[in-house]
């Protein structure tokens, strides 16, 4: 019986480590098997790579913006004034439940293509709009995570800090926030993975990112086997980016539960 329970675990471990190389291996093997296909792929790799850089840039900027705004909103949602609390709660509810694609459409079509500051025209490119479109849901999730983390710290911690002579600000800085940070890291990384995968949606509003690049490449080459490989490359790229994040998250969650 014990062996039966153990088996999937070892199988899972082989699979977990094999998963990193499996998709790229398929791509490389099929490129080697058919040299004409391999040559086409090699030609398009820089184009695809430039697309993927855009995904990474969008994801990182959206997460940075979303985290700053979200952490602020999370603290505001615990403010003692209803006038502050209710609008923040409405913002979080509305944008947490909104599809990412809808928000990307909203920012793309509502914002102008350039903005005027003191008479100088600044271009407002589509990828920046996509960043804002993804930062909005990110901020809503992060606000919820921050709020949950602050609420999860027992009141006795505040009282103990006060008893030790910490001021309110000092207690927040040295006692409450470090605990919040540890608690909110796994869910924050879930948001990171979700936003990273959301960057693919920017292709639908014409941002030059990986999926868009793959579509361009497959329309230019017009070979079914190349189309398959191109999309496998896209899958492999996102997988190698998101899989480590999700594994790390699960490990941290496990450690947090054990503690």
């Amino acid at each position: 019986m014990r062996a039966q329970i153990q088996q999937p675990r070892t199988g899972g471990r082989i699979l977990r480590n094999g998963a990193f190389v499996a998709l790229p291996l398929v791509v490389i093997l099929s490129a080697v098997a058919d040299p004409t296909l391999g040559r086409e792929l090699l030609q398009w790799v820089p184009y695809l790579a430039s697309g993927f850089m855009m995904n990474v840039v969008i994801a990182l900027s959206a997460m940075t913006l979303g985290t700053v705004v979200g952490a602020l909103f999370g603290m505001l949602s615990l403010a003692p004034f209803r006038l502050v609390r209710y609008p923040v709660a409405a913002y979080v509810q509305l944008f947490r439940n909104a599809p990412h694609l809808v928000l990307i459409f909203a920012t793309t079509y509502i914002f102008p293509f350039e903005i005027v500051i003191y008479g100088t025209y600044l271009p407002f490119p589509d990828w920046v709009k996509a960043v804002i479109g993804l930062a909005i849901p990110a901020s809503a999730y992060v606000a919820e995570i921050t709020r949950g983390a602050i609420l999860s710290i027992p009141t006795t911690q505040w009282e103990a800090a006060k008893g030790l002579g910490f001021s309110h600000g000092q207690a927040l800085r040295w006692i409450i926030l470090p605990q919040c940070l540890r608690r909110s890291l796994p869910p924050w990384m879930n948001v990171l993975a979700s936003i990273t995968m959301g960057t693919a949606l920017a292709s639908l509003v014409g941002v030059h990112e990986l999926l868009h690049a793959a579509t361009d490449a497959s329309t230019a080459v017009r070979r079914l086997d190349f189309t398959i490989i191109a999309y496998l490359v896209v899958m492999a790229a996102f997988f190698t980016l998101c899989y480590p994040i999700s594994r790390l998250t699960r490990r941290m969650e496990g450690r947090f539960h054990a503690a």
Binding site: L94, F105, L204, M235
Partner: protein
């Protein structure tokens, strides 16, 4: 015709605060938009049971203890969870759909519509998330309970059916509701392959009318409302199924 008067009143009232809903009093565009809402709702109603059934099947495979069942499903779950749904959808539609077309001899014979692919891809994506939640629930069922069931002569399938799944389902219900809210949001990817759900229908309207803000407000409220209902239903089911004293 009291219906028309309500529409006209709504259009004139909203135009006073700068919103443009004039298309509602035209027949064609209003019809497209209504159909968009209907398609999105239909997708959601169809996808919830599809995702739950496949999620249960995947979870049963993952916990079966048989490598030939658990390894392929585990691989599928990991790939699905860690790649964007849009990429999966494009891959299925452009590659798998082409295979199916060549198998049945030509695009005209292909019975699979874009709608089918949205249901398949989003359904299986959410099923993978459900499977993880249910698997965690099944593993959380106390070993002594399972041993007791085995002791009174239950077969492995019976244990799954009568002991593990009922308890696991209750434990994983919050995660499942969370996944269902993701499901509602994911239906919008159908837009990419021209399934006329609400975002696709809205694009048709706003390219003509240039009233993005007005439509956006309604779309955001629409999704908020659906997800509110889904969350409430989840809470209701959770309360209905609660086992007194079990702590779930």
């Amino acid at each position: 015709m009291p219906d028309f008067n309500v529409t006209d009143l709504f259009v004139s009232l909203t135009s006073r605060i700068g919103l443009n809903y004039e298309f509602l009093s035209t027949g064609y565009e209003a019809q497209i938009w209504r159909d968009g809402f209907a398609t999105t709702l239909f997708l959601i109603v169809l996808l919830i049971p599809v995702s739950l059934v496949f999620g249960l099947v995947f979870a049963a495979c993952l916990t079966s203890g048989r490598l030939w069942l658990s390894v392929p499903v585990r691989a599928f779950v990991e790939v699905t969870r860690n790649t964007p749904t849009l990429v999966q959808l494009m891959f299925s539609f452009l590659v798998l759909n082409t295979f199916v077309s060549s198998l049945v001899g030509g695009v005209q014979n292909n019975p699979l519509s874009p709608f089918f692919w949205v249901v398949a891809v989003v359904g299986l994506h959410i099923a993978a998330l459900h499977a993880e939640a249910i698997r965690a629930g099944i593993e959380a069922v106390p070993a002594s309970t399972v041993e007791a069931a085995r002791g009174i002569g239950f077969s492995p399938l019976q244990i799954l059916r009568y002991v593990e799944v009922p308890l696991a389902f209750r434990a994983s219900l919050p995660a499942i509701v969370n996944n269902l809210i993701n499901l509602v949001k994911l239906t919008t990817v159908g837009n990419a392959i021209a399934v006329s759900e609400i975002t696709y229908a809205s694009i048709m309207v706003w390219t003509q009318r240039d009233n993005v803000v007005s439509l956006m407000i309604v779309i955001l409220l629409f999704f908020s409302l659906i997800n509110f209902v889904v969350a409430r239903l989840g809470l209701w089911v959770e309360r209905r199924l609660a086992v007194p004293g079990y702590g779930l």
